[in-house]
């Protein structure tokens, strides 16, 4: 059970959270102007990073807030959590072999 630092409530066990998938994928402002490929990219394409990955969590059984976490998917170490609207410190870092 991961220990996740909610930016509002502090460190809490994973049981209180819901994972919200990859972070920083903004919903297009005008979906109808997108091609099918562009829309599919928004809906489905994910970086699936092996390395530092930014993802969303919701403190569902806590304060209810969504926030972001930068986690290394090769170790599950969470480097940092930050609020919605804030940017990550580093971009994704895929562990290029």
């Amino acid at each position: 059970m991961l220990l996740i630092n909610c930016p509002y409530c502090g460190s809490r066990p994973e049981a209180e959270f819901a994972n919200g998938g990859q972070a920083h994928i903004a919903r297009p402002a005008d979906p109808m102007s997108l091609t099918d490929d562009e829309w599919a990219a928004y809906l489905y394409m994910r970086d699936n990073i092996k390395g530092l990955h930014h993802e969303r969590w919701r403190h569902a059984n806590g304060c209810g807030r969504f926030f972001n976490a930068s986690r290394d998917t090769t170790t599950d170490v969470i480097k940092r959590t930050y609020r919605m609207g804030e940017r990550p410190e580093a971009e994704h870092q895929g562990a290029k072999p």
């Binding site: 059970m1 509002y8 409530c9 502090g10 809490r12 066990p13 049981a15 209180e16 059984n61 806590g62 304060c63 209810g64 807030r65």
Partner: protein, 189 residues
């Protein structure tokens, strides 16, 4: 016609009689009914709400403030629970909404959404820790702290009103589960 007070049922009433008479030093008891309102909104509005209610809401995360039978629990950065023990929800709601008319906020009466359990005794934290993954030591979870969390497979609002007394506020349909879970835990601990 019956009066509302007589008509009102608590999801936990049947549990009380079915509970074991444990050798445990931890007791479970049903908390009295209360008017409960969920306030969500902007910071200016919460201050106005507190001023009307007579309890200054905590802006610090995971803390509650209480004056007499009235309390305000921080639930989230834009969400507080106002409680007034043994008061009429309609009156409390009416008064509050009037006071907040000009404010950017939401006020919802949830007086019947949940029931309350007091878990008390020297091993109350241990009993709760049978299903709650939080550190409930006094250092990590002091008197005056509150938070939504989980107990087993239920979600609830947990607060510490005294060193050895926790209050659990849980949605009605989950309340029997939580009661039974805690009852078994205090027996087996």
């Amino acid at each position: 016609m019956l009066s509302p007070a007589i008509m009102r049922s608590n999801a936990l009433s049947p549990m009380q009689s079915s509970s074991t008479t444990a050798a445990s030093t931890t007791t479970l008891s049903i908390l009295p009914d209360a008017a409960k309102l969920v306030f969500r909104g902007k910071t200016e509005a919460i201050e106005a709400a507190g001023a009307h209610f007579g309890v200054k809401p905590s802006l610090e995360a995971c803390r509650f403030a209480a004056v007499g039978g009235r309390s305000v629990h921080w639930l989230g950065p834009d969400e507080w629970l106002f409680q007034a023990v043994n008061e009429d929800p309609i009156e409390v709601f009416g008064g509050m909404s009037a006071a907040l008319q000009a404010q950017a906020c939401s006020l919802v009466d949830v007086s019947h959404r949940s029931d309350g359990i007091a878990v008390a005794g020297p091993t109350a934290a241990l009993v709760l820790n049978h299903g709650c993954p939080l550190d409930l030591s006094l250092k990590a979870f002091p008197v005056g702290m509150c938070t939504r969390t989980v107990l087993g497979k239920a979600s609830l609002l947990l607060s510490r009103s005294e060193e050895q007394v926790f209050h659990v506020d849980v949605w009605r349909s989950f309340a029997p589960y939580v009661w039974q879970f805690l009852d078994e835990a205090r027996n087996l601990s």
